[in-house]
């Protein structure tokens, strides 16, 4: 269920718009933040809020990589696998992450902390190899730096 506060905030944002559907991605991001991922309920609520058919909203949730239709961990790690990161050791970085977390790409750790997803070029080629953690960038990574980062995130989550 949406909180009254969030519903009112979203309705206020949409109310001033000549075309409410231009806010559909913003609404979906807000609902994703609220529920943790886009549940069936969230998709239906987004559709109702912006006045679009559920199927039209579903077309977007299944299209955009930063909208999650399934549960994800507290930290979503997007590993860039495009050509510059590939040149600079993306493969060993990704293998290291999978080994440390004990999961494959596309999976979430049993404790619900980490999800690993591939992502195409994130525009930090000057700092390759790079990853995003909840949309925040970390670049010029080495296995040691990754270990430190995972440790920091684990501590932060406690």
């Amino acid at each position: 269920m949406l909180t009254e506060e969030l519903r009112t905030a979203l309705e206020a944002k949409i109310a001033g718009a000549a075309h409410p559907q231009e806010y559909v991605v913003d609404v979906l991001f807000a609902l994703q933040d609220h529920y943790g991922h886009l549940t069936d309920e969230a998709v239906a609520e987004a559709a109702q809020l912006v006045g679009m058919p559920v199927v039209a909203v579903e077309e977007l949730t299944t299209f955009y990589p930063f909208l999650y239709r399934e549960p994800v961990g507290r930290y979503v790690i997007n590993v860039c696998d495009s050509v510059v990161c590939w040149m600079d050791g993306h493969e060993s970085l990704q293998n290291h992450l999978m080994e440390r977390l004990g999961i494959a790409m596309g999976e979430t750790t049993a404790d619900g902390l980490f999800t690993l997803l591939p992502v195409c070029c994130i525009g930090y080629c000057d700092r390759a190899p790079a990853i995003l953690v909840n949309k925040k960038v970390y670049g010029e990574l080495t296995p040691e730096k990754l270990d430190d980062l995972l440790e920091t995130l684990r501590r932060e989550a406690e």
Partner: protein, 438 residues
Amino acid sequence: MTTTYPQILFQNRHADRIATLEEYAASGGYEALRQMIAGGDRAQVQAAIQEATLLGRGGAAFPMGIKLSTVAADAPFPRYLVCNADEMEPGTFKDRVLLHADPHQLIEGMVLTGFAIQAAKGIIFIRPEYENAARILEREVALARQAGYLGEKILGSDFSFEIDVHRSGGRYICGEVTAQLNALMGKRPNPQQPPPYPTESGLWGRPTVIQNVETLSCVPHIVRNGAQWFKDLALTESGAGTKLFAVSGHVNRPGCYELPMGVPLSEIIEEHAGGMRPGSEFKACLPGGASTQFLTRQFYDIPMDFDSLKKAGHRLGTGAIMIFDHKTCMVAATLNLMDFFARESCGWCTPCREGLPYIRDLLQRIERGEGEAAFIPMLEEMSKYLWNAYCAFAPGAVSPLQGLLTYFRDEVEEHITAHRCPFQASGSGALDNRSQTD
């Protein structure tokens, strides 16, 4: 000794923070807007841009002045201006650096362009990976509004203009003009084949001009200093202005450099990017993002401007230069690029949706030593079909492949005849652990 050149877009660039509105204004910022608003001559802005031959910096190099002229004098209102800050092509990061350096020149460029076409609203379409830049823009747009440069009755005139920041949900196709308009309208971002062109019928069926961040950021400087000044910034007769070159790969100092149009490729690599890394020799580069062709050693001294590359059968694209050393397997590098394009194809047109995975799979088999001689003509034939898709991203996607088959055919053939990747031992090899089904 590194050759130094005038810094225009980066004149207020600091290593660790963005330039403030005050700093931008102190360097002459918002003067052009004051002059134009006071003079009230909308045609003057467009004339300056057209005379300066400002070519689109987002990859297509379409002249901005000509684009503005396609908004008819009697075109309906409201009109829109969209700033494309979606740079998603592998290797491209110049707009990110520019937005973090001095965002007010983009804001002023948007207001001036909005003024020229009598637009009511500007929208900055930005990729989700640039959340930091999106926040910076929202904050600085609010400051510009407080200072009277934006909003109702700008600087006391009868011109009103707003800027919104629109966050994308991701996907490469959103950088394509017609797809971006669909995305902004809350639709699945499929490209559309013009006509009608967006300047006639774009956002919500209204005239819409779309320009790249770097292109719009050039506008205040052109209006303030004149078209001839802008042209004179280039080293070549055929170029105009400066260009942001985003350099990455096997060089010592990857980064974004503002250099005159027409600067030789060799100078960018050796001086500005600090030369090749120790133990690395230049083999090839992609000169302007992932949808350009490989430039080999024979082009090492080519002047980097749109015209010079076009004459050599190449494209400057976005000016994102990715440099590969002699240890790089070009089949594996092209496979990575094809994997990107296959995954990011929006799926709307059959040649792109079906053709790119087909091409990727052929390349993957070649890279694994399972290739056959017949694969080469198959690759050539498949890449021709990509020209039948609706948008320019599809033919762009096979540019590196065409470069591979033109300049590195012997390397492809070696994979096939030896039944293995000749670079495998050196570690720059195939994407062995990658799933084929992503």
